[in-house]
């Protein structure tokens, strides 16, 4: 049987169950607001948002692989393109662009111009240290970890902090070789 061709982000997004983006945006906003009230420290909120994202990412990768028919990427460059064009599109309905590669091809930036998480959002002065979209970096980190890539994901630019786009830096720390349960004698 011929291998199934990978599907484009647009095609997948058109075929999945979708909901009103306002519900998503406002729900996320309400979560952040509640976390700020309960945890008080902005640093702690950043950490928890990242953790929530990580938990989501390790589950979402299964849906991604099941629906996208994407096969193993040849290198990290292809991985980044797939996240930006297929991953973001099929879940959030927007695509990102990939730029700012380093010489080794292990570090790049995903640029989001349209980000459904931040519609209606304005940060008050008291939340200056907040990385509002930190859930997203957690999702990317969690999802990549499930396909054997340890990464560090950080926000370089943030429109809520006055920048002109959202720039998420993804740095490949190491590729963990897949471990099979070969050894029974341990």
């Amino acid at each position: 049987m011929a291998p199934v061709a990978p599907r484009s982000g647009d095609v997948i997004f058109a075929s999945v169950e979708r909901v009103n983006a306002e519900l998503f945006t406002l729900t996320y906003g309400a979560i952040v607001r509640q976390l700020i009230t309960d945890l008080e420290e902005v640093e702690e909120v950043n950490k928890q948002l990242d953790q929530m994202g990580y938990n989501i990412g390790i589950r979402l990768i299964d849906e991604f692989l099941a629906k996208s028919n994407v096969s193993r990427c040849v290198d990290f460059k292809e991985t980044a393109e797939v996240i930006a064009k297929v991953g973001f599109k099929m879940f959030l309905g927007v695509t990102a662009s990939v730029t700012n590669w380093d010489a080794e091809g292990t570090c790049c930036s995903l640029i989001l111009e349209d980000n459904p998480l931040v519609d209606f959002v304005e940060l008050p002065d008291t939340c200056q240290g907040l990385y509002y979209c930190n859930i997203l970096s957690g999702v990317v980190r969690g999802a990549l970890e499930m396909v054997s890539m340890k990464t560090e994901v950080t926000w370089l630019r943030d429109m809520l902090r006055g920048d002109d786009a959202f720039e998420l830096q993804v740095k490949l720390l190491k590729q963990v070789p897949e471990e099979y349960p070969y050894k029974d004698d341990e």
């Binding site: 979708r18 306002e22 929530m52 989501i56």
Partner: protein, 176 residues
């Protein structure tokens, strides 16, 4: 239709709200966790009903407002209307969704037959499952309460899932 995102995005957030508040922040205080989750829903319902009623005249009475929740509001959120609305005409409303989306991907067996024998491990598991499911209901209850409050109806909202996948939301308002 405005912008959309995949349903998995919203479901993932709900799962994480419940697990963060229910098992990490307030692991031993389910009451507090429930209240926080409800508060998040309240905020969402309050804001959404504000947006969806922008172009409308004021509702003439509570019933009109509730009907708006059952039809327009529910359709925006779930692409279907509430299937059945009952009222005692004294401030209590029962909104029934025969197939509530946010529970449709959850597998639990709420059959109460075994609940007598507490030693039965499967009964314990069932209780746990029912408890987990009920944690997921504070968010939609909060949404309804937030939406109604914004329409001038302060109320308490609870949910009944004894007939899954149907879900009944009970709204009690003091006034009227």
């Amino acid at each position: 239709m405005g912008k959309e995102v995949s349903e998995s995005c919203v479901e993932s957030l709900l799962t994480e709200i419940v697990s963060s508040y229910g098992t990490r922040f307030y692991a031993n205080k389910p009451d507090l966790a429930a209240r926080r989750i409800e508060a998040i829903g309240y905020q969402v319902g309050h804001q959404l009903s504000e947006r969806y009623t922008m172009e409308r005249p004021r509702f003439s009475d509570h019933l009109e407002a509730i009907k708006f929740i059952c039809k327009d509001f529910w359709s925006e959120l779930f692409k279907k209307q509430i299937d059945n609305l009952k009222t005692n005409h004294r401030g209590t409303f029962v909104l029934q969704d025969n197939r509530f989306r946010w529970l449709s991907h959850m597998s639990i067996d709420p059959s109460p037959e075994n609940s007598g024998s507490t030693q039965d491990p499967s009964a314990v598991a069932e209780n746990k499952a029912a408890e987990a499911a009920s944690m997921h209901l504070y968010f939609p209850c909060g949404i309804i309460r937030g939406a109604l409050s914004n329409l001038g109806i302060p109320c308490a909202v609870s949910a009944d899932i004894s007939n899954l996948p149907a879900c009944e939301f009970l709204s009690f308002s003091a006034l009227n």
